[in-house]
Amino acid sequence: GPEIVAGPGANPECFAPWSDDTTYLQWEAKEAPYKIAVVNGFVGNTWRIQMIKTAKAFAEDPAIKDKIETLKVVSTGTDAPAQLGAIEDFINQGFDAIITIAVSPDGFDRVIRLADKNDVVIVPFDNVLDTDKVMQVNEDQLEMGRTWAKFVLDQLKAEGTTSGKLLEVRGLPGNSVDRDRSIGIHEVFDADGGDWEIVQVVGNWDDGTAQKVTADAIAVHNRFDAILAQGGTTGVVQAMMDTDHPMVPVAGESENGFRKLVAKHADEGLKGISIGQSPGLVAIAIKAAISALEGNAMPQLISVPLPIATYDELEDGANYWSDLPDNFFTVNEFPPCGVNISGPAIMSQDESDVN
């Protein structure tokens, strides 16, 4: 298993520690090239597909191509034993590192124990584990919630609104990401002291569901002063427009569709902020795994900066694409890490492919 060492770690611009008390882990160095596996859970949505394609594409990147002997990607579905089994199987097969999006934030004790026994580096990202025994990569979900809330608060204050009714569209119930983002949002509004009523609906991070629950909420409550959506934001805005709800500030994810709508309607009051959980995180996780295998000291929890774009920063062709589908996630590049795979480059082999 890894040793706990003192920082700083390698390449701190890219592998930024989560906080000051983040510990550092160090594995014994191994000879390149490495065998790396990505064990995904569920596969039936665009985000996951984009993530898988990013992983494949990143492995072909000249900077790391030589360090990877094989990159294997499997999707196990939402079944925890299948995911744990796949990880264990790769350990048995002698893989060096395993990147994973955990189906459940717990239950990895056994595979972590096995991985440590076999000196395998496990790197959970996106849906991370409630443990400090492995190196993990994520964006700060709490911070994301706070940023959304601060932005909305600022917009409202600028209009002179200091109290009112807000709509919060939450994600998958029970998920830790959903929980953290929501906590972040409420923290800020509670601290503000204004009289804010927050109506919560469950949108499952899915456009259709989010659209339906938003439409229902608008029908019942008539008017909200702002909307904070964890995902399915395109659907949320769509519902606003369908119900002729006045354009109000919206905080949301990084779907291309949402950014397109914000760019188009910002003047009418759709002041939006778009922060995304990027499918590109997988690339950073792979990079972190390689760095760890090379024997570098690594932060136990790596914080990837939030890719924020507010309505006044949107630029067609740079951080959104007006001629491309709604459904892919815009933010995918992390320059400090040398990860430069843009959404459109991933999701379409060539530009002519898309209209």
């Binding site: 596996a37 990505v38 995904n40 569920f42 596969v43 039936g44 597909i49 898988i52 394609k53 494949k56 294997k72 990607v73 499997v74 999707s75 196990t76 579905g77 939402t78 079944d79 925890a80 034993p81 299948a82 744990l84 089994g85 796949a86 264990e88 199987d89 790769f90 048995n92 097969q93 002698g94 189906v103 459940s104 934030p105 717990d106 239950g107 990895f108 004790d109 056994r110 124990r113 409630d130 119930p173 029970g174 998920n175 830790s176 929980r179």
Partner: protein, 348 residues
């Protein structure tokens, strides 16, 4: 003339026999292709992965034998998983109590299903669609967020080989006793599944109640006229199904040391359990088949997914291939259709 016993067994159990052969072929080939094939580590990993679905497939078998379907098995398993994640920790006494309470929860829920079906006289498929929702609701109340701390030693002991089990609890000289040697390499989850199958299912099948379950699925009217205890058998079948689902949930909790009231996972388990039952050769019309067959069916499902890890298949094509393999596997049932010479035999 009377056929020989063996011939008769084969002809009457064609489904199970084919499934077993298929499983053996698939599994042996997998081990040959695996860099560490035919080793305890691989066997432990494989059986761990298959245990929960095997239990759930056994749970699904009973309602199917009755000629119905239980759409709540996945949900009941999830509920038990959540209950176990809360209760199975602390002193050895508390742990044992937690395990019993978990099994009792599933068994009770199964009995509830049975009572609704029998006394409410609602079709099982639709009754369990509803009770499944209730089970998930309860699971969410028990465990609103995934997590839990199931006893770690227990988790380690039950998810490894017999040697590790003995080692963890200091039994049989820490696993080194001479009499244990022939067994040290057997994975514990394998033993657990076999134990439940042999000690619960096989005796059940050989009681009048168990036979009544088959009789109901085959011809309910005839069963009633023959003076068989119909209601008791129905309730017993659902109860036993609940017990098997609870075994699955308990094992899942021990394996993942946590509980997760995940709706999608519950749904996936239910659907996979049906697929496993069919692959094992149990007829969805009822009356033919058994839990052992479903167990084999569940293993086939799992082994198929093992192959994605050793073959080089484009990850984005994996779901497609998985679907096609499933479709083709169940389409083997069509061979019977093609062989039928009297078309009336098709409408059973």
């Amino acid at each position: 003339m009377h056929k020989s016993t063996l011939m008769r067994y084969f002809s009457q159990n064609l489904g199970v026999v084919t499934a077993s052969l298929l499983l053996i072929a698939l599994y042996v080939a997998y081990n040959f292709m695996h860099p560490r094939g035919f080793s305890t580590a691989v066997a432990v990993q494989n059986t761990n992965e298959a245990a929960a679905i095997a239990f759930v497939a056994m749970a699904q078998t009973l309602p199917v034998l009755l000629g119905g379907l239980d759409l709540s098995v996945g949900a009941v398993m999830t509920l038990c998983n959540c209950v176990a994640s809360v209760l199975v920790n602390g002193t050895p006494g508390e742990i044992v109590f937690g395990m019993l309470a978990t099994l009792a929860t599933g068994t009770a829920f199964g009995a509830l299903n049975g009572c609704i079906v029998v006394y409410g006289r609602i079709q099982p498929i639709i009754a369990t669609l509803a009770t499944g929702a209730i089970a998930i609701g309860l699971a969410l109340i028990v465990r609103p967020k995934p997590g839990g701390d199931v006893d770690g030693d227990l988790g380690w002991a039950l998810t490894n080989s017999v040697w590790d089990f003995a080692d963890t609890y200091g039994l049989a000289d820490g696993g080194d006793a001479w009499w244990l040697q022939p067994f040290v390499d057997i994975p514990v989850p394998f033993l657990l599944v076999v134990l439940v199958a042999v000690c619960v299912w096989l005796p059940f099948k050989r009681t009048v109640t168990g036979r009544t379950v088959y009789a109901i699925g085959s011809a309910e009217g005839a069963a009633f006229m023959s003076g068989l205890p119909i209601d008791r058998a129905r309730i017993a079948a659902f109860t036993l199904g609940g017990f098997f689902a609870a075994c699955g949930g308990l094992y899942l909790a021990i394996q993942t040391s946590s509980g997760n009231a995940d709706l999608q996972q519950a749904g996936a388990y239910t659907l996979n359990s049906i697929a496993a039952v069919v692959l094992g050769g149990t007829s969805l019309l009822g009356g033919v088949g058994g839990a052992i067959a479903s167990l084999i069916g569940a293993c086939i499902l799992r082994v198929i997914s093992f192959y994605f890890r050793i073959l080089d298949i484009d990850p984005l094509l994996q779901p497609l291939i998985e679907g096609i393999v499933l479709l083709v596997a169940v389409s083997f049932g069509a061979i019977r259709t093609i062989r039928v010479r009297n078309k009336l035999d098709l409408f059973r």
